[in-house]
Symmetry: C2
Subunit: 574 residues, 2 copies
């Protein structure tokens, strides 16, 4: 039973479901539905797909997450960064027909869903930890810039394309003469309005005496308001005939089940992008879910989240949708609006279904510029270059990784940015551990503590050299260590003892063991004994059975202090 609830969290929260929870969930679902309609249309546009794909991706996937998800408040659906990655993946196939694009998008979602489920079942969620915070932050910032730029063409009413900074700017500049002014007016007004809603509406409502929470939620309905007003304007002024791009006919029917049927070559070509989309979608979603869960002292299970997001994507892929994940702003609204269980997501899906059946005829006159404006306003909040400043001040390694991620994403596109960031952070970590910090230590007077002689007033003995190595000993630093300590010893002629203080040594691998053997005999050639102190339990367990223990010229001491006292005493005895 416990095992079953693990895989179907609905069995847990479902049992405590009552009227109060129902009411809270329904209110939240209504607000999220209103927010999600323009977003789902806009992100379909961003992914290079017709508007209905956005609605499809906001139906069954929400139900699937509701059944399997462990977060009580995560709102799943199309999100900006994943939609951009979808556009890039489809773009790399070189298909032009809309039906082919839809198939490719569904195929991406399906594959990504299966990959997520596989990771979840194999409990490999921890692999996502290899994406460091700065790399993710850099990637999202750079993606935000690319997304905003990619939407400029809709705001200007021109034809331009490109999936990186250079191409986008070139495309825009080359077509500046084709600007469509009615489109520009709609676009600029919508953008200005949405910015004002974001910054100015809430204070205004508060001033008029509205409760803070309601004011916050009301300010989230801005996009719907913009959609309604611009659609009406376009209809009344017949803006379509003035060259304003409109969304056009959206079929007012629910999607059927069907697996995308495309060639093996395309499946193969999409496997890499699907993997990237999976991992980025998962990392984004899980961090939102974790943040929100912590606020209510709830917990989420990352491996079950993989399964839930996987199920959501498999449903998106089999109902003509495209890749989805948990979105930040949407989940925050869901949380603030009082959603208490994943049922809120299921009710949202019902809301979207009703909208699909009833409201789509009205969307024909919706200007694309309005959708572009909602995207631009939404993603500019993702752009946060302060991560550069933060890492610059705190950590060189992180700064290099984050700048590389931003630069590569901007210049080469989203598909390379994350990989570059991850590889670089791993490389830097390896390089750092391959040249570890070492300190010569001495006794802090009157204590049993041994500290760096460069940082503290300490007592040392001319015939004893105590070295603390601040890293595990493994193949990449074994030789370095051997050479450094041998050099330190060579510089100190009266030396008789070297004590290696192992407080920070968490493992000693085979290569390092061989290097210690070599160091032991090199020091022995110089008439110096090698001692070890403060070896950790797990490390000692392994060393115990090795030949090294019998070759070691010196002793192994539980504490550094005992080592030094013992060796000093021996000296007096001689």
């Amino acid at each position: 039973m416990k095992g079953l609830t693990k895989y179907f969290p609905i069995l847990e929260w479902g049992r405590q479901y009552n009227r109060a929870t129902l009411t809270s969930d329904l209110v939240a679902a209504c607000i999220v539905t209103i927010m999600l309609i323009p977003q789902s249309l806009a992100y379909a546009l961003l992914a290079g797909l017709p508007a209905e794909a956005g609605l499809h991706a906001s139906l069954l996937p929400l139900v699937a997450y509701g059944l399997f998800g462990t977060s009580r408040t995560l709102a799943v659906g199309p999100v900006a960064v994943v939609s951009l990655m979808t556009a890039a993946a489809i773009g790399s196939l070189g298909v032009l027909e809309t039906t082919d694009k839809l198939l490719a998008a569904a195929c991406l979602a399906l594959m990504s869903g299966l990959m997520l489920i596989a990771l979840g079942v194999l409990r490999l969620g921890f692999l996502a930890n290899f994406l460091s915070h700065p790399v993710i932050a850099g990637f999202i910032t750079a993606s935000g810039i690319i997304i905003a730029l990619s939407q400029m063409k809709h705001l200007l009413g021109i034809n331009a394309s490109g999936d990186n900074l250079v191409h986008l700017l070139q495309g825009l500049l080359a077509h500046l003469d084709q600007i469509n002014f009615p489109t520009l007016v709609i676009g600029i007004s919508a953008t200005a309005f949405l910015f004002w809603v974001r910054k100015g509406l809430q204070p205004l409502l508060l001033k008029f005496g509205m409760a803070k929470r309601n004011a916050e939620l009301a300010s989230k309905t801005g996009p719907v308001f913009a959609v309604v007003v611009t659609t009406l304007t376009a209809y009344l002024l017949d803006l379509g005939s003035l060259g304003v791009a409109l969304v056009g006919d959206v079929p007012s029917q629910l999607p059927g089940f069907s697996l995308p049927n495309i060639s093996t070559d395309f499946w193969l070509a999409l496997a890499g992008p699907a993997a990237l989309i999976s991992i980025i979608g998962f990392v984004e979603s899980v961090s939102v879910a974790q943040t929100l869960a912590a606020k209510r002292r709830q917990r989420i299970d990352p491996n079950q989240e993989l399964i839930a997001l996987g199920a959501a994507n498999v449903s998106a892929g089999s109902t003509q949708g495209f890749p989805v994940t948990g979105g930040f702003s949407r989940s925050v609204v869901n949380f603030d609006a009082g959603a208490e269980t994943p049922a809120a997501g299921i009710y949202t899906a019902v809301g979207i279904a009703i909208a699909t059946l009833l409201l789509t005829p009205l969307l024909a006159y919706l200007p694309k510029a309005t959708l572009a404006a909602t995207i631009i306003v939404a993603v500019l909040s993702l752009v946060d270059l302060s991560i550069l400043k933060k890492t610059w001040r705190y950590s060189q390694a992180d700064f290099i990784a984050v700048s590389a991620t931003i630069l590569v994403t901007l210049v080469l596109g989203v598909e390379f940015g994350v990989s570059a960031g991850v590889l670089l952070s791993i490389l830097i970590f390896l390089l750092k551990t391959s040249r570890p910090h070492m300190a010569i230590v001495g006794q802090v007077e009157g204590t049993e503590h041994y500290r760096n002689i460069d940082r503290h007033q300490v007592i040392t003995h001319p015939n004893i050299l105590s070295v603390r190595v601040d890293e595990s000993l493994y193949f990449a630093n074994a030789h370095y260590l051997e050479d450094q300590i041998d050099n330190l010893a060579a510089e100190r002629p009266p030396l008789q003892h070297v004590i290696l203080m192992c407080t920070a040594v968490n493992t000693i691998d085979m290569s390092a063991l061989e290097s210690l053997e070599a160091l032991n005999s090199r020091l022995s050639d110089r008439g110096i004994k090698l001692h070890l102190s403060e070896i950790k339990g797990p490390v000692m367990d392994k060393l115990k059975h090795t030949e090294f223990m019998s070759h070691l010229t010196g002793n192994i001491y539980l504490t550094q202090h005992r080592a030094v006292s013992d060796l000093v005493e021996q000296d007096y005895c001689i």
Copy 2:
């Protein structure tokens, strides 16, 4: 001046050169020359090249190393593993003509030489440390097996080919009916004789009263003896007409300078193999050089060694040779024979030049089976499966890396084995550090030491939890740490303080800092304060300027003992 001697070590040892050194070097050079002639022919055969290529590779490269090398006794030339890798690289091009093979081999040597020089100039020699000892041991063992198998066809006088275990065995079995019996007799006798020389000659000579060192050196002349006897036999009995494969005409002239002229496609195709050959050759050579230098209390400079080996390979590439490096057995002989300076290598080159001019006509009757026998006997000493047992007993991670290296080398060939081993060892290291060992610690009674509660009798306090994390905190383990400590805290309701003991924390990167922030606020939500103790100097330097310091609910203590005493005292005061 110091800088110049750094790049031209000859300026240092050349100044102290005198008659005694000259005599020692000349004696060593004579013995090495006698050993090198059959070896250079045999390794050319192994590389799939005509015999003269081996002689060419033993001329100028030795002079180049003599000018730039920092090892006093390293003997450079063709070696088994690098020759096998050369054969594999040429094989992958699919060229059949001997002249094309020679060009490809020269091109490999040239590229590998340039790569080595580049690594040396950029002082990137430390990169070789990422090849762990067990991976190298596994690779050499597996290569030894493949080499021995690849020579069986020469011993049996059949035509078979293949570059991995499966293909080699298939090839041999498929052609067993074509065995040439005169070849088999020559091959088996030569092999048996060489094994006997290796094991039995030295004891025999000692029994006859020969000095140990002379007996050792005499036992190294076995291959030359085998060459002379089998060549004479082949000449006298006209074995060629009986189907015994002979070396045939070897041009008795010195090679001219010429850069290999092959298509760009081939250069590109050979770049990967050239890089692998460089790194394997360097690692092998440097470990031999280091071992020998340590015996005489000399030192070698790995970055200058890169330049010297690079120069040797550039010369090999521009004089119709193939990739060379420092060989183990040859260098030991050079060392034992008393070589004192790299001049011995230069004299050896002169010896080989004389042999090329005078002795090559005699080589026409040399049976290939004899060369195959010398190779087999030489490489079987490389095969040492004990590394499997050693790593099995000492370290799981190393065992996995070494078994993968052996398996992949045997099954997929030399080009994949090392890469698989290196990638796997890095991956395992990353995975290990991503799930670090953690210990709850308590005070060892009567001391200021804090140890693992599972391993020692310690004192703990119910409202204080002290956790020691045995790893640097970085992106791959940041989340894990956050979750683990939060879980530990959640299990202990009366808890008021968590002390993170950082003796083994060598860095805290940006991701880990953010996780600490998150942990701090998660614990704070539970009414628990987070304290840090024993933070290292370099880590503290970075933390000092962060916002985390002002958010931290608890304190930072220099020592774990002070942290606990302080918190216990606070408790009594309340």
